[in-house]
Symmetry: C2
Subunit: 298 residues, 2 copies
Amino acid sequence: MRDFSQDHHWLSINTATVRKSRGQDLPLPQIIEACVARGIRAIAPWRDQVHAAGLDVVSGLVRQHGLQLSGYCRGGMFTASDAQGLQAALDDNRRALDEACELDADCLVLVVGALPGALEGRAAHKDIARARAQVQDGIAALLEHARAQHMPLAIEPLHPMYAADRACVNTLEQALDLCDAIEPRSAGAMGAPALGVAVDVYHTWWDPKLQQGIERAGRDQRILAFHVCDWRTPTRDLLNDRGMMGDGVIDIPRIRGWVEDAGFAGFSEVEIFSTQDWWQRPHEEVLDTCIARHRSAV
Amino acid sequence: MRDFSQDHHWLSINTATVRKSRGQDLPLPQIIEACVARGIRAIAPWRDQVHAAGLDVVSGLVRQHGLQLSGYCRGGMFTASDAQGLQAALDDNRRALDEACELDADCLVLVVGALPGALEGRAAHKDIARARAQVQDGIAALLEHARAQHMPLAIEPLHPMYAADRACVNTLEQALDLCDAIEPRSAGAMGAPALGVAVDVYHTWWDPKLQQGIERAGRDQRILAFHVCDWRTPTRDLLNDRGMMGDGVIDIPRIRGWVEDAGFAGFSEVEIFSTQDWWQRPHEEVLDTCIARHRSAV
C-alpha cells in the first residue's frame, strides 16, 4: 500500500467538496486556483460548475496548471418514462462525454439514474427492474461513443438509500455484473476495458461483499476511480451530510488497501457534500483539512 | 397470492406504528383496544411498550382478546466493546426471549446491532467485520435457549443506512448466509428451522438480489415474518420517515408475491416510524388507513 503520510501527491479534490465557501457559491476557477496554490495535482469537477465558468475557460485553466482530472462528474441518469426522455438522456450523456474528452479526464463517472421522476417526488412507476434495464441499455449505447473517443466510463454504485431517486445500481457486485453484461471480458483479455467502476467508500463501506467485489474488479481491470469521505454517526441528512475522512466510522485505509491490492494506483478523490458543516467553512480551511486527513486518515 | 382486497384477516400492526397519537405517547393497552375494536387479529409489540404497561397486563390482554403476535420486537444488539458488554447483551436477549414466550409470539425479531457506541455517536471502533463476528456468536449462543423454548429467532436485515449504528446485517443474502453458518440445513431437512429471517420491504426493496434471496429463504423455510411500509421520495430522515403503504415507491404486491410463492402464509405486519406525519395524526385514523391500504396497496 502506498504511503500517503508524507505528501498529498495522490490527492484529488472533487470540486463539490468546496462548491460553497462560508455558505456562498464558489466558482470553479477560484476552486482551481486554491487547489493549485496548495500543490494539489488533481480535481474532479462537476458539470454544472464547468458550465457556469465556461468549458473553454476551465479547459484552459486545467492545461495551464497541468492539472489531472481523476474523473468528470457526471454522466448517467439514463432512465425515463418515454422514448423521448431516453433519447434526451443519451444525447446529454454524449455531450458529457465530449466535455470529459475536452478536459482530458481519466474517466466519465456515471450516476446511472433510478425511477424516473422520483428525484422530483413524482415517480412515474415503481418498477426498479425496468429502470435497471434502461440503465443497461443506456450505458451500452453510450459505450460505443466512449470507445471511439477513448474515454472510459465508470459506473458508480450508489448507496442503497439512493435507489429510488439517484441510482438503481447499488452494490459493487451489481455494477460489475452490469459491466460484464455490457462488455464481457474473456479470460486473459489484453488492454484495459472501456467500462469499469468508481469505488466510493461512502456508498460501499457497509457491503459484506465489498472486499470480494474489489478483488473481482481488480482482476478485470475495472477500478477506474476511488472516492473517499466518511460516514458520520448520526447522519443527519441522506444527501448532504458526508463527513471528512477520519470523522466517521469507515475504515478507509483498509478499503484503500484492498483497492491497491487489486491494482489501483490512481488518485484518492475527496468528495464531501455537507450543507451544515464543511460548506459553511472557508474553502481554504476545507482544502487544508483534506490535505491533512489525506495523510492521516486515508 | 392471497387476496387481501376484501378483508384484513392477515393484517398485523407493529405497535410502533401507533406509538404516538397526535404527537403524544399512546400506551400499549390503548393500542391493543383500538386494534381489537377494528377486528385486527395480530400485533407485534415493542419491548419498551410492553415494559411500560407491564408484561402480565399485556399478556392478559393478548389472551383475553385472542390476539396473535406476528413477532416480538426486539432482541439483538449483540455487539459490545468488551466481554462484560457481550454478556449483558446475551442476558438481555434471554429476557426478551422469555417475554416472547410469555406472549406466545410467532418469533423474536433480531435487530442485530452494529459498531458498539455508534448509536450514541461514539463508535468504539471501525471494524465492521468484528461486529459481524460478534453478531454470529451472539445469535449462536441465544439459539440454544431459543430451541429449548421453541421460540424461532428472526434475523432482520436492516437497510445499509443503518449498518453503522443499528444492524450490520444488511442484505437478505447476508442474513441467510448467517443462518446457514449458525444452523446448517441439510437437503431434505424435516421440520422448520429455529433460525430464520424477517423480510421488511423497507429494508430490502432496493436489493437487486431480493427475489433470489426470498426464493432461497423459502426453500429452507426461513421466512418467519413479512413487514411492510413504504419508501417516500424524498425521505426526510434516516430513521423516522417511513411512508404508509401506497405513498412511496416500493412495489409491495410484487414482493409479497415472491414471499408467498416462497411459502410464506402469515401476517403482513405494518411497521411505520413517522415523526412528522403518522405519529402526529390520531391513532384511529392511522389504524383505519392501515386497514384500507392493506387491502389496496399490499
